[in-house]
């Protein structure tokens, strides 16, 4: 639950009173333009950063007030799929997926092996268990990172741009996997992406972030039919509208001529 969150980086206000609620057992999509604060929201939820004002509650606990031990206990119930995978480069694929299990449990190696192979099979990379992260493509690395994120069977899974760089087959597998984990295991999923089409196929509800606030909320198809100019612009992918495509800059011609003078 995110309540009236304000957050600024270097004087730039990323959130100006953000309010949203993620319900248990649902797939919630967080959409918004690049630089709109989607990844920052995940950092707030996982307490990597703390809001300047407002509160972020996970499992009923305000994450900003938790001590290190309580925070780590809470994080064991979460899984995060990083945009770049963030695999540990001094381990092979198998050890990467086994890493959280070895750190948090006393399971025998035979059981860990079975567990890891099961998760790698789910993402289609059981045969790549012996490869190092340097030998993987970007898409494969993200699939390994997904296997690692689900190996501890978390209650909540956060996905940071999970569809970027995936080929159509991998994309289909990942979409089905997110849906399956939600339906079969009841895992709450928060998917951050700007891929409207893909999100529409799996999300139960969605939030569109514009200008540091929630501009629209509802099912993805409801957002598509919204009349609000900003929401309509984002959902149709139009360059014209209230959401600026260009970063704020001085007048184009004036700047070009001024550089000529120099």
């Amino acid at each position: 639950m995110v309540r009236d969150v304000h957050y600024a980086i270097g004087g730039h206000e990323v959130f100006k009173g953000l309010d949203l609620t993620v319900r248990r057992g649902r797939i919630t999509a967080i959409m918004g333009p690049s630089g709109g604060g989607k990844t920052t929201l995940l950092k707030l939820i996982t307490a990597q950063i703390v809001a300047d004002r407002g509160s972020v509650s996970v499992f009923g606990e305000d994450v900003a007030t938790l001590g290190r031990r309580s925070l780590y206990a809470l994080r064991q119930r979460l899984g995060l799929l990083f945009q770049n995978g963030a695999l540990l480069t001094d381990m092979d694929v198998f050890d990467n997926v086994a890493f959280p299990v070895r750190e948090h449990t006393d399971l025998p190696e035979t059981l860990i092996r079975k567990l890891v192979l099961t998760k790698l099979q789910a993402v289609g990379l059981r045969g790549a268990a012996h490869l190092t992260p340097a030998e993987l493509s970007g898409g494969m690395a993200r699939r390994v990172a997904l296997a690692r994120a689900i190996v501890m069977d978390p209650e909540v899974l956060l996905y940071d741009e999970p569809f970027v760089g995936l080929d159509p087959i991998s994309l289909g597998v990942i979409l089905r996997l997110i849906k399956h984990m939600n339906e079969a295991l009841g895992i709450t999923s928060i998917v951050v992406s700007h891929d409207v089409q893909q999100l529409a196929t799996i999300a139960n509800e969605s939030y569109l972030l514009l200008d540091g606030r929630v501009a629209a909320a509802g099912r993805p198809e409801q957002l598509s039919t919204s009349d609000a100019p900003g929401v309509r612009q984002f959902m149709t992918g139009s360059a014209e509208g209230p959401v600026a495509f260009n970063y704020p800059a001085p007048d184009y011609i004036t700047q070009l001529l001024a550089e000529d003078d120099e």
Partner: protein, 255 residues
């Protein structure tokens, strides 16, 4: 800003950095006990910092010893005391040259490797991923590397001393004609346990200083290519200067 203001800013920045390193050391020390319970993690880092530095340490030790043999012989024979070459080489190596040069070489090889490795882990979100997996990177990444460096340094300094003494003997006995029996018997008679202890204490202190700086700089490096590069440079500069400063303080304390 006037020069006084600039000096003040530099002073404040220096104090801030010193405070940051001191706090980091306390945090590291708190994590060292759990690391001792995971020997595989520690052994890997002793191997990385120690075994992988062996070639450069042995080669440098040999050449430093050989130079010591040449210079020592040249100086001592002016006073007709060339038979004392073994004593001069052994004491010079054990008490001074082995700990200091080992620390300088350690900073250049193992220290830079530590800083860039941890800095790159920071830049590629690996440390953040550990945090999210509820694994403390201070315990899993920083403390084993710090402890590995602290343990490896005296071992490397001891090897440097042995190889250096062999190099001095090679030049003094084989090349310059100093009597072999005199060389070793004088060395054995003159070197006391406290000389070995002085070298050991120095290399331990240098081990703490160099490993701490290397791990701290990597852990707090800006997560960019330039940031990691700058952190690596800072490791070499700070470790080298601190080693020489501490050497003076320790030498004065032991005299």
């Amino acid at each position: 800003m006037n020069s006084g203001g600039i000096r003040g800013n530099y002073l404040l920045e220096g104090l801030r950095r010193l405070g940051s390193v001191a706090l980091f050391l306390l945090q590291l020390l708190g994590q060292c006990v759990p690391v001792l319970g995971r020997p595989s993690l520690l052994l890997k880092q002793i191997y990385n910092a120690g075994a992988r530095s062996l070639i450069i340490i042995m080669l440098s030790g040999l050449f430093v010893g050989m130079v010591l043999g040449l210079q020592g012989y040249d100086l001592l024979q002016r006073f007709g005391s060339e038979q004392a070459l073994g004593i001069a080489a052994a004491l010079g190596l054990l008490r001074e040259l082995a700990p200091v040069i080992t620390a300088l070489l350690f900073a250049g090889r193992a220290g830079t490797a530590l800083t860039s490795e941890i800095g790159l882990m920071r830049a590629t979100d690996q440390l953040t991923a550990m945090e999210i997996m509820a694994v403390d990177p201070l315990r899993y990444v920083a403390a084993p590397r710090f402890l590995g460096g602290v343990i490896a340094m005296p071992l490397l300094a001891a090897i440097f001393s042995v190889i250096g003494l062999y190099g001095a003997q090679l030049v003094g006995v084989q090349l310059m004609g100093v009597d072999r029996g005199t060389f070793w018997s004088q060395t054995q008679g003159a070197v006391a346990l406290h000389d070995v202890g002085e070298g050991l204490v120095k290399s331990l202190v240098f081990g703490v200083a160099c490993s701490l700086i290397a791990v701290h700089e990597g852990y707090h490096a800006d997560p960019t290519a330039e940031g990691v590069g700058l952190a690596t440079t800072r490791t070499v500069v700070a470790s080298s200067v601190l080693t020489l400063l501490l050497d003076y303080v320790l030498t004065a304390a032991f005299l």
